[in-house]
Structures are given as C-alpha cells and as structure tokens.
Symmetry: C3
Subunit: 680 residues, 3 copies
C-alpha cells in the first residue's frame, strides 16, 4: 500500500477557488505531504438535489492529486446531510435526548435508523465507489466521519424493540434481564419498551437512569445502529471495489460507541487524536494502544491531529515547538503507519476557521508551524518503510471494556465520581512509566500471550472471562483487578454471591461493604506511603494476603491491597482508588516479578516503546516528554534511525528536550537489568 | 396495634424466586424483624392488563408472613404505573416543568388530575382492600409512595382553573390576589390562567417566577391535587376496611408538598429518613419533630432508613458502626413507634441495587450490617412497649410554615441565598442543643401550651396569627421572629404598612430598608461575639430595646437583635442571619428566662429528649452524637431501660461513643438547675 | 422641552386605589419630582378585550398629573401582551431558543414578526397617540419597554429568509457568505435556511454555533425585526402627533440588540442603568458614553435607576448613603438631561415588589431613601438648566461595535474566555481614570474630530474602516487596537491575508500564531511590570517597534505591545489581555503624547468630566468615588454650581466622600500641566 509512513491530512479545496489548488500542491511538496483526505463534507456539493449528482469538483481534486503523485483517502461524506434532504425528509434528523426533533444543522445529525437516510447515504457511497474505485489516486475509503451520538425518534424506538426481541427472545427474558419487577416495569408487550431518555428513565442527563439495564441496552443498540450505517455503505463500496481498504475514523476513548463491536468490520483502524490541554502523554498513548488493540495489534492510521491548535474548546492552547514532532513519533511508536492532520489548509468560515492548519489563511510557508510540518515530512521520508507493519511485543495486557465503562458510570451508587477511563489510565500509566509495553485489549481477547493482565474497574464480568483470568494466574501469570470489579452480569444485575462475584475465587477475598467519600477526602495507605480516594471497599481476606492496609477510620488496618497466590501465579486486588504513586508501586511489584520493568523505568518522562518489524528487526522508540534533556546510557549496540548515528553499549545516550530516538538494535541488551544499574 | 416498637422494612420478594423467601424469614427471625412493607411497586405484577388482576404472588407473600408471625404494612402500589397503562393512556404520564409530556419511565410519573389514572389507581386500591382487609398479617395501609412532583398538562391546567375559581371566587378577586395589573396580566376569563412553568412565568427553574402569587397557588394546587389522589384511594379502602390505619410515607422537610394540609387525613404519620452526608444530628431531629407535629404530637413511624448506604447520591457514604443504632434511637426519642428499613433484601438490578439492605446480594447473616441490625432488633425486643405511645412534653414551639417556605424562596429580592430550612434549623438546633424539647407545629396550631414560640423567617403572616403570637407574649411567654418575617399576606402581597407588617406591634420595631450581600461577606455583631450574613435589615426601634448591634458599615450600631417587653412577656427580633453561636446565644437567653435549658446544655453533642408514656412514666433519652465518651452526672434516680442498670442522683453517667441511654425516672431531679452545677 | 433636569420615574398608580394617588403627588412635590413614566404595562387594562378599549384610568392619571403640574413620558405599553391576546392568538407568543412555543406569561414575550402582534400593538399605539397627542401633561412617547430577546417560530423563520434574500440577493452569495461548503450546508433553496438555535446549529447555548455566519445574521435579523416593531408604532404615533419626541428605553451594553442600527430612529436616547454589584464606576460611565454616542453626543435620558435596591438578582445590595446622588450626577456628567427612577411607588405583588422605590409599601416620607431622593430633587431644582443640552468635548474616541462583540463571543477558538465588554472596558477605564473625556462611537462614525482612537478587540473590520483609521494616524493621531482584531470580514470569514487583516499595514506587524491559556495562567510583560492572560498572539514586527515583550515561554522576548510610526502619527497594537495597570500604562503613554491626561489623573478615584453648554459655558464635573475625602487643588477660577462657592486657582479643593462638584469656569487653567504639580 505504501513505502513510507503516509503523511498528509484533511483537504477541502472545494472551499476555495481552483487557482489556489496549485499553490496547495506546491506547499504539499515542500512539506513532504503525500496523502489527502478528501470529500468528508461534500455531500451537498456532489448531490445538490435528489436526482442530481455532480462530481466535477471531486473529479478535479482527485485528478490533480494523481497528477501531482499524491494519494487520496476518499470519504463518502455522509456525516452531514445536505439541507434539501433534511428539509424534504424531516425524519432523517435526529430526535435528541430531550425528545426534540432537530432540523437541519451542524453535522452528525442523521437518524441512524432512518431508511431514507440510509438509502441516500448508500446511494452516494455506491456512486462514489463506482466512479473512483479504479482512480489512480485512490488509497483508501473513509466512510462517514467520527460516528457518534444517539437518536430517540419513533423509528429508533421501533428499531430498538426489534433489537431487543433479537437479543432477549422473549418478554420474560427481557423482564428478567432488566429486573422490571423493580418499580412496576413489567412489560406485557414489546411496544411498551421506550428508549431511555429525559422523557422516560433519565434525570440529570444520560448518566442518571432508573433502569441501568435499559440504558445499557440502548447504548449497545446505538452502537449497532451506527455500525449498521457503516456496514451498509461498506457493502455498496465492495460491490464496486473489492480491494481498496475501508476504514472510518474513530476517536480513541470515545464512550458512546463500543469500538470492539466495530473492529472486525474495518480493514484497518484509524483515529483522531486531540488530547486534552493538560493530559499526561500516557493519555494519548492509552488511546493509541486501544486503537491498535482493535485489530489485534495491526498498525493503524492517525487520521487526524492538529498541527497547532484546536478550535472547539473553551481554551485552545498552542502546540509548542517540538510537541507536534514528539506526538507524531509517539503515534508511530504505538503503531501508526500513517500520520495525518486536520487540516491542510484552514477553512475560511464557520466553527473551525481558527482550527490549526498546515497552511493558514495567509497561505504562507514561512510560519513556524509550516516549518515544523515540513521538517517532520523530511524526517518521515528519510525513515522510509522501516517502521511499517511493525508490531508491539507486549507481555502485559490491559483489559478495556465498554460495557464496564457504561455500567460503572451509569450506576447509582456507590460513587458518581469514579470515572472508568481515569482508573484505567492510572494503571496503564503505571505500567508504561515503568517501561512495559502494553496491549489494550477487549475482555474477550485471547489472554494466553500475556504474563500480566491488568483489569481495573472491571465492573461487568461476562461469559468465561473469570475462568480465563484464572487460567492466566494458574499458569504463572499475574492478574490485577480493583474495587468495583466483578459486580454485575451482562445485564447489569448484581451477582447473587460475595463481591467480587466470579472474580472472588481468583482474588481470594470477600467484600461485604464499601464506603464512598467526597473528592476532597483522602485515606492513607501507610505501607505504600500513598493516599486513596472516592471508594473504600472493606476486604475480608479469604486466602489472599494483605499487601497494604487502610490507615484510619473504623476499617483501619483492613487490607486496601491484597495478593492471592493462585496456581503458579498471583491475583492482586486493589480495593480503593490509589493515587498515582500508590498505583505505580503496585504495578511495579507485579512487573518486577515477571521481569517486565523497562530499561529506563527510573526515568518516567522517557517513554519507551518496542516494535518488531515484519522482517524481525527490533526497534526501540525513546521519547523524551520533558523539556529538559534526558541523560541515558545505551544498553546495547544500535543505530538511531532518525540520525543514522550508531551507539555502542554503555555509551551515553542524550535525548534532547522533547527529543526522539528510534534505535534499531545491532546487538540487543542481554537482560533488562535493574533500573538503578542503568542510570547514568 | 402492637406490643413493641415495630421493626422491619420494605420487602420485595416478588423480585426473587420463591425458594429465597424462606431464607428471608429465617434471617428476619434472627434479626428480630416483625414488620414487612409489601407491595410498594407491584402494580405491573398484580394487574398485567386492563382487565386482568393477579394476586397470586401477593397472597403468597402475605400468607407466608402470617405463617411466620409477621405483620404487613400493605402498599397500594400506585406510585408507579404499569407500562401498558402509560402506553395505552398517554395522558396518565406527566407533562413536566418544561412542558414536555413524558412517556413511561421511572416512578412518581403519574398526572395527579388524570381521571384515567385515578380510576385505575382506586380500582387497584379497592381490590386490595377487598382482598386483604381481614388478612391476619395486615397491620396498616400504605397508600402510594413518597408523593411528590408536579404536572403541567392541559388536564392539570383545567383542574388548576377550577381550583382557582373555588379559592378566589371571582376574576376580580383573582386579579387582586395576583396583582395582575403588574406586567399587564389582568385576566378577563378563567381560561387565561396558565400553570406557571418554563413556558409561561418562570425562568432559571421553579424558583424564578414573574408572579409569585401564581406560583404559590400552583404549589397549593399541587398539594391538593396529590392529596386528592390519596383521599380517593383511602375512600375505597375504607369501604372495605373501616379500621386498619392508613398512612403514606412522607419525606420530612419536603418542599413540594404542604404536609400540614395532608396531616388530618392520615391515621398516623410516617416518613423516610435519609439525612444528608454531613448533616448535624439536629437535621433529622427537626424532621422527626416536624413529622410528630403533623398529628399533634402523636407517635409516628419511621417508614424508611438505610441500614448502611444510600445509592441515589453522587457520593454514598457508609453508616459507621453504631450510627444506625444511634439514629434509630433518635427516631424513637422523637416519637417513633416503628423503625423500618429500606430495604430488607437488596434488589438485584436497576438504580437501587447498591442501596443498603439488611440482607445483601450474597444473602449473608455474618456481615457487620446484619449483625448491627440483629443486635438492635434484640434491644427493641427487650425494650418492649415501654416507649409506645409516649409523647413529648415540650414547652417550646417552633412554627414551620410551607407557605412561608415557598414565598421566601420564590421571592425576587432581597436575597436568593436565604433558605428557609437553613434558618429554621439554626433556631431549632440552638434550642435542642440547649436541651429544650421542641414541638414543630403549623402556624395555625394552638399556641397556648407553650412558653416560647420561635417563628424564624415567617415570611407570610396569615389570619389571626399575629394576634395569637401577641397573646403568647401577653401572658408572659416569649416570641421570636427574624429578618424577612411579616412581609406578605396569604397571596404574597406586601403588607402596606411598616415591616414586619402585622408583627410590628409585637416586635416594637420598624424596618425601612435592608441590605443583602454575597455569601462570602460577613458582618460583625460585637455584643454576641457573632457574625452575620446574607441579609441585614436596618431596624428602627419603636419600643423595643437593642440587644446587639451591627459592628460595621453605614448602619453600624443599629440593632441586629432587639427585645420588646410586651404584656408579661417579650418579643425578640433578629434582623439578620446570625451564625450558629450567635443564634445559640439568643435562644439560650430566651430559654433561660423560662427555665427551659436542659440538664446537659453544656454538652452540645449529648442530645436529650423527654417523653411521657401513656401511663405517665417519664423517660429521658440521652444520645451521644460524639465519637468520644460523654461524662455526665445523674441528676435523679433512674433505671436505664437498655441496660437495666439503676443509677442514683449524683453518680457518674458515662455514655459510650455514639452511646444511648433511656432513663426511666425513679426519682426525678427537682429542678433543671444550672448547667455548670451538673457537669462532672 | 424643559427648564431643568427632568426628575421622576416609573409610576403605576393603576396598581393601587385612587385615594392613594393624591398622597403620591403630595410626596412627589416634597421630592421635587416633575416627570412620570406612565403606562408601561397597562395594555390588559386599557384593552380588556379585542374590541374594547378603556382609557378611564389612564385619563385620570394624566389629568391628575397635569393638574399637579407634572409631565408624563407616556408608554405605549406593548411590551407585555394581555392574556386574552396570548390565548386567542398563540402565535403572538415566542418560540424560544429550545424550539418551544411559549404560552402567556412574563413580559417581552411577543413574537416580533407576528402580524397579529404588530396589528394589535400598533392599534394600541395609534389610539393612545390619537387620545393624548395634545394632552397638556404629555412630554414624550416611550414605545414598548426594554426591547430584547429572540423568537424562533415559523413566522420568524420565514421573515429571516426574506431578510436573507434582501441582504444577500442570491443563494450563491448566501452560500459564499456563510461558507456553506464547510460541513455540507450548501443551500439550493431559500427555505432550507433555518433559524440557528438548539435544534439546528447550536449546542451549549447561544454562543456555540456551528456556523458563525448564520448566527451573526440571525442576531442582525432580530435587531431589525424588533426595530420593525418600534418603527411600526412610531409611524402610527407620528400620524397623530408629529412633534412630541419619541424614545424607547435601552439597556446600555446590551448584547442582543445592535443599538447603533436603532439610533437614527429615536428622537433622543434613553436607558436604564442597573450596574452590577461590584462594578467599578467606569462600567456605568462606559454605558452612559455609549448611549450618548448613539445620537452623536446629544444628551440622553437616564430612564431608570433604582433609588435603593434591585430585586431581580440573586443578591440585591443596598445603595449606601450618598451613592444614589453620586450615580445621578455621574449620569448628568456624561450627558443625561433627565434622571428618572424605577420606581416611584413600590408594587404590592409579583417579582418586583422588593425592587427599591422612592415611596415604599408603608408610604412614608421619613425613610432614608426618600430623604436622599428629596434632597437630590432640591439640588436639581437649584441647578436648573445650566447643564441642559451640554456636550462633551472629547478628543478621544473608543470604537464600540456590536458585530465585533457578537463575532468574538460566538467564535470557536482561540478562547471563549475573552469577553468583548471586559476588554473594551479595560481600555475605556484606563482612559477615563487618566482623565480623558471619551466618546464611545460606532465604527462607522466620523473619526476626524479625534486625536486618539481606541479600537480594542475589533474582531470584524468592515467597509473602509481600515482606511479611515489609517487617516487618523496619517494626520498625527494615534490608533490602538489589540489581539483578536482584524480577523474577519462582515460575514465572519477570515481575511485571507496576514493577521490583523486590513489593519496590518497600519499596525506594521504580522501575527502567524497565538496561544490561549486557562484563566489562572498569567504571563509576565516585564517592561510594563504587568501581567497578561487568556490569549497571547505571537507578533512579528513588520515596521512596528516593540514597546514591551513577553517574559516567559517559548515566545519570550517577542513583542506583547508594539508601536508603529505611521504618517504623522502612531499605531499601537496590544497582542494580549493586559491587566488593568498594564492597560493603563499603554493608554497613558498615548494620551500623554496628545496632552490628553486629565488634571487629576493621579487621583483615579476622582472622575472628571467636561461639558460645554449650548451657550459655550464650560463645566467640569468632579466625582469622588472613594469613601475618603479627595484633596485636590483648584486649577483655575471657578464656581461650584452645587454650592455656589467660588474657588480661585491654587486653592485647596476638597471633595467629600462620594462628593460631587460642578465647576463652572470663570478663568480656565492654561494647560493641563503634569499630574504631580497639581497634587496637593
């Protein structure tokens, strides 16, 4: 598909005159840009009326790209319906959580079950596929854009009821799954089931529901309904183009959609990376690894990132010099085979006109941002194909489960303040800062490749997961889970056994009660020198041994962290939300047991990432997230692919502030050794 | 009706298989549980279709209870409509404050004026009464559940107009009452009156209204409309069962409903006690006393409390060891003849699955919570009937008035930050921490039994209240009122006289102006060593003498607290929101004058409560709310009913942390004496 | 029209019995009140039914006023529709931003495009004009009241489309103006354009829109639609009364309406002054100057202010002794020829019953507030006509532009935290505290009279403005603009040139990028000893010289403030939100260059304001906003019009706390000299 990391981004020349396009391509060449995402919002242009299609502009865009030697990731453009469609068929517009039918506006506003929408969207996709399947510029299909959102219209209500019938089979099963005897909800007919929104089961927004089971099923239904839209478009594309890979751009840790249900249907994963203002670098890293985990470790595309600033936030800070380069190599280190921008040239109007772009409104190539983009383009050209197709040889897995995320955050009690991604990130960060490569995988994944399985806040336990986790420990591995795990079954019904439910035998504990406290309260955990917050489960060891206990309150001295020998391995339980240092201590003890501490675990600002290229070449990415230089020692003999410099074992290895090295081993270090011994 | 304090709680075995029920009863026996609240949400089970009733499950629940020697508080279950009813008759669902018709969901979602709802609810109540009136397990009727909420549908609009016609008689009277010449609202036909909501008179929610009079009348109308639902069910029950007492569970200081209008129609009061996370113990105590005041001091039922945690809050802390016992005896000290839990066994699913229960999901009897519940059950058994029917011999009354609450909090100006329950609680707390027994009574109550009448923030003054308060002072009593009292008549119209309106002659002051300041501002009141906040009325004494003045600002030196000799008594006016120490000083000076300081007034963490049993036996409850022991001295000769231990006057009396004693006097102390003399 | 400053206020005697009216007038006489605003909310009284008009009450009010020698500002009363009209014609009620049709309630709730509303409103205005055009009490017409708000009904949608057609001419032009190729919005028919609200282009309220151009046009349309209501009423009044001046009361810096579009149609400007709790005195001063600028510097009326407190705020503080007098003379100093109150007597009920009034509910004339009002009335009588018609001889202009306000605050990026009025006020305050008289003018105003033109956050630059600003500098003047200026054209499209767009040649800089940071972050600007916040543009000088630079971050040392010599003058650019001291330094350097520092610039609490009476008399207002005396020195020989006292040059001039002097020069100071030399 390519001989180097694809480089480019969203390109919407339909927004400006033809005469600017040549200048665009001149600047693309200067910047090493080879890939253009085209057509994301061109529907109203390409289909100005129900029976009128006009591909003139798109033809010219693709033809020029081909002439200039560039490739196109072609969008079907169905994420924003044209005004005439919204006006003519009001039912294509969503009915929101408040029960209000919308009218034309914004984007991502189509009802996912509307037959009219589907018919028009697939017609468009079909015509695009027919026309461009064999265009020399075509590189990939990009269906729709950033799928998301929910609809609560009558069509969706009907589709939901069908979905329920498929899933639950009988009304008795539905009543049982949803515990409808609670609050007199027993259904006697399918049409009594209502989409859960502000007019039915919810108050104070989408997280507060009277019936967790109903809301959970609607989240699953919505995932499936939008996936249905994707599949319908993919199907018509495949009718004309059996080969070109198809994707849609995801959004990392995006709560509304269970991407694990989507993953099998994408030819490759791709996602848009807009980390929050003050996020530590492990936040985007977690998202990269989650995205890589979608396709079982195969490389993905970074479909969007901003070269400089976002526009949609209250405060949109600027990427400082070097930050863009560092973030780009971080994506590559975690598995990206393409790194694209939103956007190549700035929009003139509307809500993204101040979103950062490679080329600004003035069209200059002498801005700092353009210079950084172009410099990075040259580096990627020099790097060539050496990272393409590489995979991460992780021995540590982190379970990520949308069902647990949803169930935890829509739960009434014990605490609304526990946020699934925050707890998951704390464990991920601890492992990554200790230097472990981590695969972020669905709960249904094969666990046999891993020595360590981290499963924090695994609120819902389904199928044979408990048994598979037990197998990890039985064969010598380590499993960790935490407070609020093992609480509910697939329908969000409490297990009628001791907490943590099916995980109790593995964990060797029993939890009868738990305290929750306001965010400003902290509890000490003296053995770890750490503090804990939010939720405090009171653990009765039933085979497990205490590792650390609570320091105060009536449950002082009872265990906050336990370890349970299980088979040849161990099971760890963390009964409270430890602070990051406490979390790090627990995770490092586990990693140490398996000799999985990384070579620079004593330098938490230096991120390491291993990759193995298809030819077996082993690469080690070193990313310095600090604004100070990092002084390291080379642990083996290697060449830095970015500089071409060779370094021998034991030599000093200095990373610039925000600096990057990609070491290709000539002679790998024998063992990872201890962190202290490696420190310069 | 019973020989001991009733003990038990909400019991929903329809949620789990029959085979668990026997285990339930085994555990009930272990815990001393004798009373089950049954059927609160069984409507969809007992009436699965318009013409189908099925009482099989309910029969089995009641029969088993009878077999096991337990009694049932039987709910009519009309608080949550079955799905088929909501679907078939959309008008039974409420139209909310935003004007949106809801669909089936949650509970408490029925329109109170819908004839279809009433017809179905009374049909259910009637059939239940017919079937179970003579069932041996039946102890009491529990109509609906936690009535509350408002509807704004066209049916309610029509009913509101009828209600207005009844209340005001003529359109001229309505126009006059609502001051409709303001902002061109003069009505020329009854159908022009609109329910006050977000589409008519309100902005920023239910507290911000353009016409206070309209909103006030809608609050009264809603109280009456929901009361109408209760009365309709009660009427059909009485047709089949003339004797079994009927109640519905209230919610303490619950703003939406004026419980004083309901009280005459209940055979006994009952309520659900869920104090806030950080509430001082006088908060639930105030609610207990308010509930006791509903039926003129007669004992009430504590219908619900959690044995451990709530689930509905953002943060749901755990009741620590001993707290449940202390809270339960507090309820008894304030007049409870029954103390029940929500819930006896935990729900498996939906929004209350993490709500605390006597029996958790694992069904254990070896949890801390079960042990505490069972231990308390044994204590109640041992206590027997000795507190039953006892009454509180209070000489201090606190006026509590829903109209003043509503009027104060929907007022535009002077300050939205003054909250009626907060100010009322401050005075109640001051009196209680000084050891006075307090009756919390409606403004219409007979005031002759009281030496002291506290009437804080009595914003609205109706009928002959001012004259009756004057009579209290005239005969030697003391009356206290505060800032923002005596402002409006029953229609929320300002009195066209000096502030505090009809209370001015009694108070001997005049208030021309008042300042309001942000919450962070505090004003000093040097004579009390106190600080004041929020509202600062500038008082011109007209007969009253200053007690304490403001310390700063242009009104420095003018009185913040005044005392007006009136007849043989006194009238006190507090012109600002004093802090708790300042409030305590004022109230203690008043109580001291009437020798009403309690025996342990110097120990604010030790709550005292007197009760007089039907046989004249006098009991003194001592409740230690501190986590330190309280060292007291016995003031007379008494037996502690909980331990059976006798103590003689002058002996040390030690209360454990969170400890309780119930002293039955053998020889009562002669006088209350001074606090210091009693201190150990 | 008058021989003295008009004094009085809103008077609604229809709310109380006739017998009180004589008492009202007795008190008016005591207070020197000569002007009554009548009829603002009498529609339901004067037209109780579609075909019934009843002016009895209004006749009596006006006749009594005439008999008592008072004059009336007569309102058409069309701001609140009568209930029968709202009920009979639901379409006169607005559909709100959420798409909900309202029912009768509140005020200002009429749809501005409803033909039924217009027909009824103009019928009322016409009858009033016919009846009272020649009434001896009539002084002025007051159309409607505090116009504002928006409607989103189908009628408004239709009117909006007509408005668009008028403005843009063709669909191509519309598509071009709104950049509809972005997000697939290309319109193919006018009826596809939707009003931008929560159901179409908006999320998180009115500031977050997907299409800035659409929202901007709807703000303009709404301005025009409400202006259409005003003009329709004015037209029918003029048919009966060609001479009496017509106004409507504005609200100062009121974002929803572009008052500059209204100004030509008012015979005089008037406005309601309710400064926020903690506003510095330059906040109302800015509003006064904005209102004076509406009619090219002609005097205006202060139509409303509270004599004591507001009621509508969460916290309504009291005007302290002397504050009312100071605020009133501030209004006069800035150009008021009338100072009126809301309200003369307090309403009895509804949401303004606690709003301050000259006469309170008790009807007393011995309150502090009444005494202050009456004392002020005597001062205004003594002052007579000496300030009437005077104008402000400002050499400094501040551009104020609603389009820039709107565009800036609805922008996505770079920062939602930049508030247009706050930045504008900072520059205004700097100039005023330095003693400069300032005209606040529209961007279209003639700039030739000014030495200094301050144009902060001039986000949108239209027409020939850049050229006119260049002309100011070219002839020796100084122009200042700031960050986020010169960004967009009249359709909110980014200029496709270097920032700051058309202002770049004048400013001599180029801005390629900008950082935005959270509110707690501050950046140093060492040369000014100042701090900066929110937005940090990175400036490349292109002819300009740096005045001060950023102290830290990667752009440390780059200019935060620049000065560009241009022709005989200068252009200043401030690239960040400086704190007030920093802003003051910049502005004082500019003013100093033009010898525009005021005589007491070293005393920032002493506000000065110059006025020139029609006969050429020059007045200097001195207003001491401190609660300490201000010790000044007389700079010339003058008489204080308030005391009649003469003072000679060099004599001490002491202003009381909150004190006021109005100096009429006998001999003016030669030059303004330096601040230090003048200090006592």
């Amino acid at each position: 598909m390519t001989h180097k990391i694809r480089y480019g981004g969203d390109y919407n020349p339909e927004q400006w005159p033809r005469e600017v396009w040549d200048e665009d391509h001149r600047l693309f060449t200067r910047a090493g840009i080879d890939t253009l995402t085209v057509g994301v919002f061109t529907w109203s242009l390409t289909q100005p009326a129900p029976d009128t299609y006009d591909f003139t502009t798109l033809d010219r865009i693709l033809d020029l790209a081909a002439d200039e030697g560039r490739r196109v990731c072609l969008a079907t453009g169905t994420a924003a319906v044209p005004p005439w469609l919204a006006r003519r068929h009001p039912e294509v517009n969503r009915t929101d959580f408040e029960g209000r039918r919308h009218r034309h506006g914004q984007r991502h506003a189509f009802c996912p079950t509307s037959p009219v929408y589907r018919e028009h969207a697939t017609a468009m996709a079909s015509r695009l596929a027919e026309r461009y399947a064999h265009h020399p510029a075509l590189l990939a299909w990009h269906i729709n854009n950033e799928y998301g959102g929910s609809c609560y219209c009558e069509l969706c209500a009907g589709a939901f009821r069908e979905w329920l019938r498929d899933r639950h089979g009988t009304l008795d099963a539905l009543n049982d799954a949803w515990c409808t005897t609670f609050w007199s909800h027993r259904y006697t007919s399918w049409d009594q089931a209502e989409p859960p929104n502000a007019l039915t089961e919810h108050w104070r927004g989408p997280d507060h529901t009277a019936f967790q089971g109903i809301t959970l099923d609607y989240l699953r239904f919505t995932t499936d309904a939008l996936l249905g839209c994707f599949l319908a478009e993919k199907e018509v594309i495949r009718a004309h183009d059996p080969d070109t890979p198809v994707t849609t751009n995801f959004m990392g840790l995006f709560r509304p959609l269970d991407y694990h249900r989507w993953a099998p249907h994408l030819d490759f994963a791709s996602w848009d990376n807009y980390p929050a203002l003050d996020a530590p670098p492990t936040r985007p890293a977690l998202a990269h690894d989650l995205m890589r985990g979608l396709k079982d470790g195969a490389p993905f595309w970074l479909m969007e990132q901003t070269p400089s600033t976002t526009a949609c936030r209250d405060v949109n800070p600027l990427r400082r010099p070097g930050e863009l380069r560092l973030a780009t190599f971080q994506a590559i280190a975690h598995g990206a085979d393409a790194t694209l921008y939103f956007q190549l040239r700035a929009s003139r109007g509307a809500c993204e006109k101040y979103h950062g772009a490679v080329i600004g409104h003035a069209g200059r190539d002498d801005t700092r941002v353009f210079r950084e983009v172009a410099s990075l383009g040259r580096e990627l050209e020099a790097l060539g194909e050496r990272t393409l197709g590489a995979r991460t040889p992780a021995r540590t897995a982190l379970l990520f489960d949308w069902d647990s995320w949803w169930a935890l955050e829509i739960s009434d009690g014990p605490s609304r303040l526990v946020k699934y991604p925050d707890v998951v990130h704390a464990y991920y960060r601890a492992a990554r800062e200790a230097g472990a490569d981590v695969d972020v995988i669905p709960q249904s994944a094969d666990l046999t490749p891993y020595d360590v399985v981290l499963a924090p806040v695994l609120h819902m336990v389904k199928g044979d997961l408990a048994r598979r986790l037990e197998a990890v420990a039985a064969r010598g591995g380590t499993v960790l889970t935490t407070f609020l795990s093992g609480r509910v079954d697939e329908h969000d019904r409490a297990f009628l056994t001791d907490v943590p439910g099916p995980l109790a035998p593995l964990m060797g504990i029993r939890v009868d009660e738990w305290d929750a406290r306001p965010p400003e309260f902290t509890q000490t955990v003296p053995e770890l020198g750490a503090r804990a917050r939010l939720v405090f489960e009171i653990v009765l060891p039933r085979g497990a041994e205490p590792v650390a206990g609570y320091g105060t309150d009536f449950y002082a001295g009872t265990p906050a962290v336990t370890r349970h020998p299980f088979g040849d391995g161990e099971a760890w339980y963390v009964a409270t939300a430890l602070d990051q240092p406490g979390t790090a201590q627990v995770v490092r003890r586990i990693l140490t047991r398996h000799d999985l501490l990384g070579p620079y675990a004593d330098q938490p600002a230096v991120e390491t990432a291993s990759r193995v290229a298809p030819d077996g070449t082993r690469l080690l990415f070193l990313l310095n997230h600090a604004t100070e230089p990092a002084h390291l020692t080379a642990l083996g003999t290697a060449t830095d692919l970015l500089t071409g410099k060779r370094m021998d074992e034991g030599e000093p290895l200095v990373l610039d502030p925000l600096g990057v090295a990609i070491l290709q081993w000539i002679r790998r270090p024998r063992s990872s050794g201890t962190p202290d011994a490696r420190k310069k």
